[in-house]
């Protein structure tokens, strides 16, 4: 006998047909505060039935985790420094589902408190290092550079714009030594902050300078930001070591940073590198 589903439904009012939830959309993958855990963020489908749970599975490892309705699914037990992709699906309480999504892009768990966000490599022609869409979930930012400008002199200076450049005041105290004397000076500028003196085109071949720039409380919206820098370089017996402490007198959170060699028309020479780190806290 062939069962007519329409007539069966009409004649069996106690049988409830459950809508199947459609596939959710993955909106982000991020390191959780727990070691070996990735948060798979998602938004539920706007069509189909409601999901009671969301289930995510890793590849490799087939490590499975569920969330009872809310984003994210926290997948734990992952190995640091291994790349993973994830699939995710919504299920009703009885297991009805439209199946898994396609695999996400890969993400690599790295639990250290100092998390690399982005890296720039100089090519001899690019002037602006641009770090945009900076995540707001860290306490501080740290920029580490090993760089050289192609300005036609022995040295140049690296400058930084944080956020809406020119729309705030930056002031700093510089304390430096050139090997024979200690000096200190103050600068106030509209926006751009010097972060370190670096070797330039006529410096000894192979010479690159060191810069570490700490931006405390970059995501705060209520106070000014501090910029604390160390830098050093040496070129055939000349060089500098500097410490700079200053304030970026702006309250909006810093979401983008530009770093450029101050010399007009200059660029970062090949071999130069900047890495932006987020510091958890």
């Amino acid at each position: 006998m062939t069962l007519n589903s329409r007539s069966a439904k009409l004649s069996s009012p106690n049988i409830k047909v459950q809508d199947v939830p459609n596939k959710p959309t993955v909106t982000g993958l991020s390191q959780d505060d727990v070691n070996g855990t990735i948060d798979v963020a998602f938004t539920p489908a706007t069509t189909g039935g409601s999901a009671a749970i969301y289930r995510a599975v890793s590849n490799p490892g087939n490590i499975e985790a569920i969330s009872y309705g809310s984003s994210p699914v926290k997948v734990s037990g992952l190995s640091n420094n291994t790349a993973y992709t994830f699939t995710i699906k919504g299920e009703t309480s009885t297991g009805a589902t439209s199946g898994f999504t396609e695999a996400t892009s890969s993400v690599t768990p790295q639990f250290g408190a100092m998390v690399p966000i982005a890296t720039f490599n100089g090519d001899g022609s690019t002037r602006d290092v641009y770090f945009g869409n900076i995540p707001q979930n860290y306490k501080d930012l740290l920029i580490i550079g090993n760089v050289r400008s192609n300005q036609g002199s022995a040295n140049d200076i690296a400058a930084l714009y944080a956020g809406n450049y020119g729309a705030y005041t930056h002031s700093q105290v510089v304390f430096e030594s050139n090997g024979s004397s200690l000096t200190s000076s103050r600068t106030t500028s509209a926006g751009a902050a010097y972060i370190g003196t670096i070797p330039a085109n006529s410096a000894t071949t192979g010479t690159y300078g060191y810069i570490a720039a700490h931006l405390h409380n970059y995501s705060s919206t209520g106070t000014f930001k501090t910029l604390l820098c160390k830098s050093a370089y040496n070129s055939a017996g000349t060089g500098k070591v500097e410490i700079r402490s200053g304030s970026i007198q702006s309250t909006p959170a810093i979401t983008e940073i530009r770093i450029f060699p101050w010399g007009s028309g200059t660029a970062w020479m090949t071999g130069s590198t900047f890495t932006l780190y987020g510091i958890r806290g």
């Binding site: 639990f111 250290g112 408190a113 100092m114 306490k139 501080d140 005041t169 002031s171 700093q172 105290v173 510089v174 304390f175 430096e176 200690l182 000096t183 200190s184 000076s185 103050r186 106030t188 700490h214 405390h216 409380n217 705060s220 209520g222 106070t223 000014f224 501090t226 604390l228 160390k230 410490i243 700079r244 402490s245 200053g246 304030s247 007198q249 309250t251 510091i279 958890r280 806290g281």
Partner: protein
């Protein structure tokens, strides 16, 4: 350098900081501070560390040296013999600075859990209030073989609300 977050305290009201039960599983401690003090001293206020509740009651066990830049020149200071607390002078803005100005420091305490030697501190920090400021670098030690399990972090008059201390363990 790989480091792991141990603890963060952000002040919702003016106060100082205490970190207790510091884990002993790391090689070094790395301490990042965003702070401003409550006292009035326009040259800037000090950062103080006391280890294991040692505020000098059992002897003055801290020594330190620092160099300073103030924009018009530089100078140095030190406490070569002993003091009752680890001090880095003039490293935070005081109560007379404009609204919103804070200072920052980065401090490392080396081999903090080693029970066979004194503990070494190194500090850089400073502030600028668009009209004055300091850049400070220094180092010192706590003359004790005890592992550091508690740190009191203070400034003159206490820290202003919004100040923050984050402590990290550096993996060997």
């Amino acid at each position: 350098m790989q480091m792991v977050h141990i603890a963060t305290q952000t002040l919702s009201a003016d106060a100082n900081f205490v970190f207790d039960n510091i884990p002993q599983t790391y090689k070094h401690l790395h301490i990042r501070i965003y702070g401003r003090g409550k006292s009035a001293f326009t040259d800037g206020l000090s950062q103080y560390f006391a280890c294991n509740n040692d505020f000098g009651g059992g002897g003055n066990n801290y020594s330190f040296h620092h160099v300073f830049g103030y924009g018009g020149g530089s100078y140095s200071s030190g406490y070569a013999t002993s003091n009752n607390i680890m001090s880095t002078p003039q490293v935070y803005p005081d109560s007379t600075a404009g609204t919103g100005f804070f200072g920052s420091t980065v401090t490392d305490i080396l081999d903090y859990s080693n029970t066979n030697k004194y503990k070494t501190f190194r500090v850089i920090g400073g502030w600028d209030k668009n009209g004055g400021g300091r850049t400070v670098m220094g180092g010192g030690h706590w003359r004790s073989n005890n592992a550091i399990t508690r740190l009191d972090v203070q400034t003159d008059g206490g820290f202003l609300a919004g100040s923050r201390v984050s402590i990290y363990g550096v993996i060997a």
